[in-house]
Symmetry: D2
Subunit: 344 residues, 4 copies
């Protein structure tokens, strides 16, 4: 059993990571840190783990050497102590935004301040197995992914890999998100009485995850428009673009099927009947699947590519464990078998 420590385990991503690793057959959690919940049982914060673990939150100050270090800290924290963390474990998986971008200038543009450890940016592999499977197999430092970026990047994947998209035209990604995305900290806008039954387009453009989409897709003109809706988990990207001249619906079918065939967590959802004809985050809670759908207006070439994920799984902890499995030489799907629930 490989030993691991989770730094910053009291947030929603940390909790999901705990759930996955407690059931992972090859990994043992030896320590979970949280300054704010110091000394409390982890199940008091993550009540679904009651009876499964006696772990308590410890201080993050003296780290025992372990095989794998997971960093689930607020954005900006990991980059300040990355050398120290690297001394404590051979493999690091950072779930924050700190090491997602390769380019220090892009980091400064999108995050509004210089990166504290720009030399480390090149050492990390972007932890999305669907885009970096080969690299991850020899990765030592793995960056987590932005949940919204992941929904958009996976919606774009079949179109880009099959070279169907007219990349000279704009791409508009409408992303619908749940309340867990904003984190567990209480704030006025997250109050149940204010956050229930909403459809709130809180960012028309400029969301930070755009940087990850630009980096990973290579697209120059791409916008993420963010709308909060009444769900707890889940992100749905409805991505609009235009196909190259001559591209037909059958080309899309081929491209999406190829993507699903090559990736164990991608599924094509495009049915003619039944309730679940298109991808929906609703049924993905707790699962690592990314469901893909598409449609094409043959008159205009307007293509709509859809990707649904659980933001805490494929959009965070699930992708991190999947990437780690690759780095460790395990089966990619190990510990990620839960299929989701219906109804829910």
């Amino acid at each position: 059993m490989l030993k691991t420590t989770i730094i910053g385990g009291s947030g929603y991503t940390g909790g999901e990571l705990l759930r996955l690793l407690l059931f992972h057959p090859e990994i043992e959690i030896v320590q979970v840190t949280s300054r704010r919940k110091l000394g409390e049982y982890v199940y008091q914060t993550h009540p679904n783990l009651r009876g499964l673990t006696k772990l308590k939150f410890t201080a993050p100050d003296d780290l025992h050497p372990v095989d794998i270090l997971f960093l689930a800290l607020p954005h900006g924290a990991a980059q300040k102590r990355i050398a120290e963390y690297a001394a404590a474990a051979k493999i690091i998986v950072d779930l924050s935004a700190d090491f997602r971008l390769k380019d220090a200038a892009a980091y400064e543009k999108w995050y509004g301040k210089p990166h504290a450890a720009p030399d480390w940016l090149g050492k990390f592999t972007y932890g999305l197995a669907e885009l970096h499977r080969a690299e991850l197999q020899s990765a030592q430092y793995i960056s987590g992914v932005g949940c919204n970026a992941t929904a958009v990047n996976l919606a774009l994947l079949p179109l880009l890999q099959a070279d169907l998209l007219d990349t000279a035209r704009p791409v508009i990604a409408e992303v619908k998100v749940g309340s867990s995305e904003g984190g567990a900290e209480p704030n006025p806008g997250a109050h149940h009485a204010e956050r229930s039954h909403i459809a709130r387009t809180y960012a028309a453009y400029g969301h930070r995850h755009t940087a990850e989409v630009i980096q990973e897709s290579g697209l120059a003109d791409v916008t993420l428009t963010m709308t909060s809706v009444d769900m707890v988990r889940g992100a749905l990207a409805t991505v609009h673009g235009w196909v190259r001249p001559g591209v037909a619906l059958k080309d899309l079918w081929k491209a999406y099927r190829a993507a699903a065939a090559a990736n164990p967590f991608l599924r094509v959802v495009k049915e003619r009947r039944g309730v679940y004809r298109v991808p929906e985050p609703k049924i993905l809670a707790g699962s690592n699947y990314a469901d893909l759908g598409f449609d094409l207006d043959p008159e205009s070439g307007h293509v709509v590519s859809i990707c649904a994920i659980d933001n805490l799984m494929k959009g965070a902890a699930g992708s991190a464990v999947q990437a780690l499995n690759l780095a460790l030489g395990f089966e990619e799907t190990l510990g990620l078998e839960f299929p989701g629930l219906h109804p829910i």
Copy 2:
């Protein structure tokens, strides 16, 4: 037009009061105070009022003399300055818990500290028109009502007025409540991700509103058990008791119909068909109705009396305006005509 000031208008009850008074044909709001939102437009806090008023929140320190003073402060605040408030207006309506109980000892027992102005307790009339209509017609100082207490007191009203209840046996009131009841302040338990889809029996017994039920019903053995459910507005009291020997279903019909006939905001809801056969808070949002239902197990004499209200209306601002209408000699229903929406 009578002039009024609302002290503490930034909470949910204050906002509902503002909505009602802006449309009240005989009352004009001259001032709304809030220390925390000082200088901001009230519509920034209460977005449904955008375009309807240019009022800004002012400091509560220098009060202009007005006809009516509404106090919508946190519990414990009004009792400290009641003499000062009384100097600023002839009529006071306090929506907090400060002047609901007649008995200073009961106040101390349920609220955990001595009352700061015990002499004033006797001057206030409990502002539930269905129980104190005559007194309210000559009231100068009106106390608001507890929302849960109101749902229970109105569920009990037909049974007690017709003397059908075996008052020697216990009464158990199961109250289901929405998230607006806890107020607008963010806290971990009110976070959308934690508060959605819940059924949380957060208080088995001992809820403070029990004191109001004891006072108004005269019952000695009554328990309020509180369960939070996934709704924003609304309180549903499902009240269990036992009828006196010989009481039959037809006696209940007579008692509930009499209650509805005597009170413009009480309705009996007991249908044999359709979706809405029983009282439900869902369709009462924004309305001042209290819907009553009942059932009787003839074998055991177990009676179940149900009352649904909007906690911010009949359970707070609506009852306050209704009581004030009586005190001012207006039609009891004035400004309270909105019937609620369906579907919602």
Copy 3:
């Protein structure tokens, strides 16, 4: 008092119409028809009207002459009997899709069959006051509006009236809708267990309301992409387009403020602080407001225009009453004063 009959009053739009007309100071409902609910009290279907009316549903066969006939029938029904209806009332307001399009060929294209009364298409005025105020003042036959079309048309209104949009480029309207839009008939996809917590992009393009947007906006290349989310009432249109070269944010401010100044039910919502900084359908339930917001990416000229409405009010019954008020010479806002609730 003018007399009116509502044909087909058992659906959600019919219910909302009933609520509005029962409180309208100049109109009296004399008859409400429903074949399916024949003989039942209307409050059994529309429980918010309990205690407000003793009306029962009658058969639609023998119509008494009235001043105004509201048709709230399923699509396709009104066109078959329009001559008969016209004989029964001087003024007709049809809330279905039957008389929204001017062009019989467009009707056939979007609705999949020839129109049964093409000669009548030209007699109807499209009932959106913001676009046809002058015509409505002398209208005898008024067509209702599509709810999604209305959200999109009003989002486009400031841009088009101020000529800010590059109409040669595509317009993509992402519309988020609630469950009341699909009507009251039970179906598998509307089941609470399937419809809760969803983000379901059920139509990538080709929604029928597109025809109304093309007709009213004059745009050639416009797509409506429909996503169901977890709310009961409400439609939010997030409309993407590109401004003409040189158009800046201040030009948008001017255009949106001008639109709000000219129309009593349009409001601009674009705040820097607070929870409600952008338009949201959540707070509009029961109100006739259409809230407008916008943002502009100055680098690309990508403009995002947002419109939030209550689909049953501004998107159906509310616009219909507003249009009728104009036709009858009443104040445009008569009977439509309810401001909505917060929180809800």
Copy 4:
């Protein structure tokens, strides 16, 4: 691998059973029947199973011999063909209400018609491991459990096993339920627009599951009062009774801890801090846990016992698999390890 067939696999309980059995290490599904969905892939009805199985629904007419037959049919169907089913498999697990009651007279009283196979009633073991563990270890015919009955029976278990309850006094069980309990069939009351945000006490007394509580608890005077609330999965029983004279809170602690120690799926949830201080169905979706809490009013002896479950798991498919594990000599928890999600 033991072979199994599921008769009637298109409902919610059938779907949950499929999910559990597809991951059960000792059982292989060879056939799933559904007349209504004949020929369709099971993942079209249960979308969480997409990619996990190629099974299609078959006709229930010619049954292949298998080791285990699961019956997930509507109530009343299994009893008509039980002899035929018994010929097809050695072990039968029936999830309907047909074989839960031991007494044919009780069946007729609560279900309104005579039982079609009264001789079979005595052959079935009631499939709640917490009450019948020893019997289940040699059971051939296992009955499923009522979800609401299970929540109440497990809330009562610690009190009855430790003999703390005054069984001469009435017991009132207030049960809050989600929308999956009513099944997948569309109906007007299950429509999202009608079923959202509700608190609907739809049955004051007389719910059929009462019969199972009477049978299993031995209590003479017990009422189930049912309230629908806005959740999809989950049942919460808040059970009111009175303890015997002299029973104190520490006796309850002892009894509940003993129950949890003796049963792998029972947990005590009674915390002084944090959000999750009491049992809540919210975090149990997909898990087989039954969380227990309690409180005692020392003045009156009024005890409130709380049990939260997932109605489709511990209240149906989960308990069935748990009971089957016992009958087959497997570890009781086999295939039931999923701990639930947080947040959700």
